[in-house]
């Protein structure tokens, strides 16, 4: 079979199965298995799948995934996140303190959690009702929280960066460090959006945010755990003290201690953290297994190489290649969620990026920003639906959340432009790594 026939066949089958609502890991497996059996006999396919699964999963780097998921679940079920939001909100002496506080709390939470959904859920569950109660417009409130949640996947640790590193063989440690400055920069841009919003539409931001006095003890209790966990992860990776996986494990143990001592975690919440971790692993486990088979079929037919050669023959300027790829991800991101996009598309796309002369660590950051946009764009914007479900007042409509996110998506695109113009924004810190 010709490579383009296989490509059209597998993409068509995958698209049909995904759009009829079959869960994505199963759609991936079901779309590649017929092609696998075309290449191999049944008995051979059993053995080759066994070898693929063993090869994929006996991987110390990949071990960081369940550990970072567990870490995020632990933090989200303790009082660490809500306490951070409370202090951020009341410590900001500005009109719109709750909105600024939400962005700050999301960024702080992002430094201990690698999932955008958990970020939006944890901070949003406290901040959204509070902001709506204070009289913030539903559009601003939802935009701030849905977009703020995405900071969790750019500021390390980040599950998307781990998945990207596994697929492209880029160093996860370098990817994490590369995400620090763009993550902080994006946080600043989000704060600017809130400021500009409050100037253009002052009616959306209440004058009285009912600030309460926060004492030093509250500040230490709010920032201490986050600072400690973030330091363990970022500093140990930056200085080569521990691997990414080791930093994740140590952060988990420290978080368990902090959550039970000062985070008011209950045994029930702890067990819920474990079961939620297993639920996520159920999805990720099968997704990676399916991706291994999918990748095998694509590689057998040399599809990434042929596609790269065909793309190269067009002689497109490298910036046009990059723009095409970013637009592609913005469109795909409207329909699929980030983990699936990573395992379905990145194995084919990253050789094109490398051939166009872009650094894979730098592209990992650009890619992650497009995935942040993906969770904010309908019809499949995970953070939008999570927020809508969180609202108990009935005041927040999906369309408000979508409109509220537009300025934040605008600054994410601006950040991509800045990264293209000044790649060192992402690459300076990893290049200085010990």
């Amino acid at each position: 079979m010709e490579w383009h026939v296989v490509l059209i066949g597998i993409v068509t089958l995958l698209s049909v199965l995904i759009f009829v609502g079959l869960p994505i890991p199963f759609a991936m497996a079901a779309s590649c298995l017929p092609f696998l059996w075309k290449i191999q006999t049944w008995d051979t396919s059993l053995v080759s799948t066994q070898l693929k699964l063993w090869g994929v999963w006996v991987d110390y780097v990949l071990l960081a995934v369940p550990l970072f998921v567990f870490l995020g679940e632990l933090v989200s079920r303790s009082q660490i996140g809500p306490r951070l939001y409370y202090v951020m909100q009341h410590a900001v002496p500005l009109r719109g303190a709750a909105a600024y506080g939400s962005v700050g709390a999301c960024a702080g939470f992002g430094a201990v959690c690698g999932s955008s959904l958990i970020g939006a859920l944890t901070i949003g569950s406290v901040a959204l009702p509070e902001m709506l109660r204070l009289g913030y417009s539903p559009r601003l409130a939802s935009g701030v929280i849905a977009s703020g949640g995405t900071l969790s996947v750019l500021i390390p640790p980040s599950l998307i960066l781990i998945f990207y590193g596994i697929v492209t063989n880029a160093s996860v440690g370098q990817l994490f460090i590369a995400g620090v400055i763009p993550g902080l920069f994006l946080t600043a841009l989000f704060l600017v959006v809130v400021k500009v919003w409050s100037m253009i539409r002052p009616q959306d931001v209440p004058a009285d945010s009912r600030r309460e006095r926060v004492d030093l003890g509250q500040i230490v209790l709010a920032f201490g755990p986050v600072a400690l966990i973030a330091t363990i992860i970022i500093v140990s990776v930056y200085f080569g003290v521990a691997t990414t996986t080791e930093s994740a494990a140590v952060a988990c143990v420290v978080t368990i201690i902090l959550a039970f001592t000062i985070g008011r975690m209950t045994l029930r919440a702890f067990l819920d953290s474990l079961s939620a971790t297993l639920r996520t692993m159920g999805f990720v486990g099968l997704l990676l297994a399916a991706a291994a088979l999918f990748g095998f079929v694509l590689t057998y037919y040399r599809i990434p190489q042929e596609l790269g050669a065909a793309f190269g023959a067009l002689n497109l300027p490298s910036h046009l290649v990059l723009i095409s790829i970013v637009v592609f991800y913005l469109i795909v991101g409207m329909f699929l969620e980030p983990a699936s996009i990573t395992f379905i598309t990145v194995p084919t796309v990253f050789p094109l990026v490398a051939a166009a002369g872009y650094d894979l660590v730098w592209f990992g950051i650009v890619y992650t920003i497009t995935m942040e946009i993906a969770v904010l764009t309908p019809p499949v914007g995970l953070n939008l639906y999570v927020l809508q479900r969180m609202d108990r007042t009935g005041r927040l409509h999906l369309i408000d959340a979508v409109i509220g996110c537009i300025p934040f998506i605008g600054v994410m695109l601006l950040l991509i432009a800045i990264l293209v113009a000044f790649p060192s924004v992402a690459l300076w810190l990893p290049s200085a790594m010990k």
Partner: protein
């Protein structure tokens, strides 16, 4: 039907407990490994390979639990527009495909358990038998197929839960 459901439920719970135990073992063992490396200057020679091997069962033990919580991400905006009867029929087709895919992985895992047991295949450094790690994978995949078949026959769909990304 009730006993079918009970079997699916208890198999899922066994997987959940085993998976949760592995996450805790990995967290504490790796932390201990870092501690002894720096504090005692005596690196634990087992931790890296042992915890990586434990990832194989962990990757699949959550599978039946994710099914029970309907936690697999899917694109639903077309599916949600279907009338209830058509949606029910489509859901059964989904379950049939999921059971078939799960069945394939279950056969792979059972086959791997048997073949690695017979061949005595073991890990590269610790020489731990591979079948010990394939057995829970096979159990989890079979538990998943039982759960999917139950839902295929009963037409039950539990409330959706979210997963981290």
């Amino acid at each position: 039907m009730r006993s079918f459901r009970a079997v699916a439920h208890w198999a899922t719970m066994i997987c959940l407990v085993a998976g949760a135990a592995i996450v805790l073992i990995q967290s504490f063992w790796i932390t201990y490994g870092v501690f002894v490396r720096y504090a005692l200057g005596n690196p634990d020679s087992m931790v890296t390979e042992a915890t990586a091997l434990l990832l194989v069962p962990l990757a699949f033990l959550g599978l039946p639990w994710a099914l029970q919580g309907d936690a697999f991400p899917r694109v639903e905006f077309l599916y949600e527009r279907l009338p209830p009867r058509a949606a029910g029929a489509v859901e059964r087709i989904h379950m049939a495909v999921m059971a078939l895919v799960g069945g394939f992985f279950a056969i792979v895992a059972v086959n791997a358990t048997i073949s690695t047991y017979r061949s005595g295949a073991s890990s590269s450094v610790l020489e731990w038998p591979e079948y010990l790690f394939w057995t829970p994978v096979a159990f989890a995949a079979i538990a998943f197929v039982i759960g999917a078949l139950y839902r295929l026959i009963s037409g039950e769909r539990p409330p959706k839960t979210e997963v981290s990304e």
